[in-house]
Amino acid sequence: MSNTKSSREVILTDVHTALAAYAASPLQPIPTSARFEPRKAANLDEEMEMMLLEVKRLGGRGLKVHGRDEFAVALDDLVKTERIRTAAFSDHPLYRPYGIASLLKGSGVQVLSPDGDGRRLADCDLGITAADAALPETGTVLLRTTQGQPDALSLLPRVHLALVAPEAFRADIHHAFAMAKKDRHFVLVSGSSRTADIEKVLTLGVHGPKSFHVWICD
């Protein structure tokens, strides 16, 4: 684009001139008045309870799952209640001992690979992600985008299940950002996709998942 360079110069010069009073000084540090004290965490049990409550308030379902056996039962139950026929999951080392693939197959579910850009997940019923952080105040999970956990995994399937380890809990969004800010791509997910564009009536399941499940696995 031949004009790009000149437009850049024009805009930056215009901005510089407009800020005449400030532009002469070097970049000032961000004032302390522009900072806000993040929330402090309560003890882990309270944080977990808050997470489950907030997920519920978002219209999702939260669950505490202890050990592989409970996980197997919960997953089979989810498959039945949500009528899951196909599923894909993020192969996170933390959840490998659960043998998610074999549990799904055991429940009669076809397992798809989430690799790549995730287009093939358009017809998938269930996407299982591993949360990199959990924010109890808002019932939010942070998902870092990787080859094995593409953005589409928590977006195209009709049901989204996020697995959260106790270590993933963060008190506030500030702490979660400190962890993921150097990533090329990540998302904060709080509930299923929603809209209130028609008469402000809250409707779950627009372009993303229609239901949202969070399981705290320890």
Partner: protein, 481 residues
């Protein structure tokens, strides 16, 4: 929006506002305000005020160092494999996007709701080149189908009832749609899913640009923002230069303010953070930085605070004027109090100078504004610019009104002329007087009586004051009779 030359006539537009639109608007804004109040109360009023102050400081710091932070964004985005384009005005921005699309033989585009895209009139330009652009936000999808413009910056179809949406879907999509929001939403999901999967390009705006890492932050609730920026091979983001914020701490504060102010949620369903290109994502990322009059606003020390806006729409929801006339009366992309500032600032007071007067200056907007923009002060500043002119623009008021205002000042400033005026008024009003009122006055005074009657001249106040004791006695006497 910059190419439009017609003057915005708020008075005429508001007369044409249909009662149905006004009723639907009030219904929606009431709900939004109620939810917002509940979630702010949960956060704690005192903490909320601290958060607003921090939000204001962050945005002021970013604006007053904008050139440095813009250069930082460019450096970081480029280092992460993205391309940065600079657009002085709407035409240049459109040409950049059209150039990118035609070079890649793009035929179909999915779009995320973006006010900047409306501001630069992108859709008609794409259509003219034979490129189909699908608005994917449900509200935008509805207004695009209806061939309308959004009537609210965060709820584009706020003025339509579910019955109207159902009728629209029946007509345009050829389906049998019931007026149930859940069903209508499902129809939109089914209609748009293939478009997401097959689009050649995704176009978004951006809520913030984080200078520290060159990260584009997009918040959506529906998931369309994520689909449009993940699946197509090319992602183009068109973002106003004022959207830059310094760092991630700032992003944390502003995210807390934004969701609560928009819809009364603690957080939006999805916040997406995109830094350049990544493996498995779109192959190309293009960031178009748009000026389109913003650097001119920045030079105005009073008006520049209008650029702090984070587009939450709370000022519109609470505005008594917006609630009486609906969004279309503002005749432009941005409506309500924020529109009354931004539209004359972007288009000039010659075209939109009437909008700052479309306010009672009650200040409800400034009380709610999450970044504490002094909206009434800026509106007064723009009214002054419209009437008297300043270093930025010459006055736009017709000569006759200015002459009458001057005459009024002379008459009101002199007791003799004032008394004479009162006496003459009493004589001249006789043919127009109906009881205690003057229902219509000759032009140009009829601008008042078109909206409401003028009270008839009743005589001098001093005379009434002098005789009031006698009048009271007479009245009391009558009571005792």
């Amino acid at each position: 929006m910059t190419e439009k030359t017609a003057r915005i006539d708020f008075r005429e537009n508001s007369r044409n506002a249909s009662p149905a639109v006004v009723a639907a608007t009030q219904n929606s804004t009431r709900t939004a305000l109620r939810k917002r109040a509940a979630v702010v109360a949960e956060f704690g009023e005192e903490r909320w005020q601290e958060l607003r102050k921090a939000g204001h400081e962050i945005r002021m710091h970013a604006l007053t160092h904008l050139d440095r932070y813009l250069a930082m964004v460019e450096e970081k985005v480029t280092a992460a494999g993205g391309y940065v384009h600079w657009a002085k005005d709407a035409e240049e921005a459109r040409e950049i996007v059209l150039g990118l699309a035609t070079e890649r033989s793009v035929r179909s585009i999915v779009k995320v709701k973006s006010m900047v895209s409306e501001e630069i009139d992108l859709n008609p330009a794409l259509e003219a080149r034979g490129i189909r652009a699908y608005e994917t936000d449900l509200g935008e999808f509805i207004v695009q189908l209806a061939g309308q413009r959004p009537s609210h910056i965060t709820s584009p179809a706020l003025h339509m009832t579910k019955e109207e949406v159902a009728a629209l879907f029946c007509e345009k999509l050829g389906i049998d749609a019931c007026p149930i929001p859940e069903e209508l939403t499902e129809h939109a999901r089914l209609r748009l899913r293939p478009e997401f999967l097959n689009a050649d390009m995704g176009i978004s705006g951006g809520n913030f640009l984080i200078a520290e890492t060159g990260t584009l932050l997009i918040v959506t609730n529906e998931g369309n923002g994520r689909l449009s920026t993940s699946l197509p091979p090319v992602h183009v983001a068109v973002v106003g230069i004022e959207k830059v914020i310094p760092d991630w701490e700032s992003a944390a504060v502003l995210l807390k303010l934004l969701a609560r102010s928009v819809s009364g949620s603690k957080i939006t369903a999805y916040s997406t953070f995109i830094t350049g290109v990544r493996e498995g994502g779109p192959k190309e990322f293009h960031l178009v930085l748009l000026d389109n009059g913003r650097s001119r606003i920045l030079a105005d020390k009073v008006a520049r605070e209008a650029l702090l806006c984070i587009r939450c729409g709370a000022c519109m929801n609470t505005c008594p004027v917006y609630n009486q006339v609906g969004g279309y009366a503002y005749g432009a992309v941005y409506q309500g109090p924020i529109g009354s500032m931004l539209t004359p600032l972007l288009l000039g007071t010659g075209l939109a100078g009437g909008l700052p007067f479309a306010s009672t200056l009650c200040g409800a907007c400034a009380e709610l504004c999450p970044v504490m923009i002094p909206i009434p002060e800026i509106l007064l500043h723009l009214r002054k610019r419209f009437v008297e002119g300043d270093t930025f623009e010459s006055p736009s008021v017709p000569g006759i009104l200015k002459a009458m205002a001057k005459l009024g000042r002379i008459v009101l400033g002199s007791p003799t002329l004032y008394h004479l005026g009162g006496r003459l008024g009493k004589i001249f009003q006789a043919p127009l007087r109906r009881g205690d009122w003057l229902p219509s006055l000759p032009p140009p005074l009829n601008r008042w009586t078109m909206a409401r009657p003028f009270p008839a001249f009743q005589g001098g106040f001093r005379g009434w004051f002098k005789n009031r004791k006698a009048a009271v006695k007479q009245a009391e006497g009558k009571l005792h009779e």
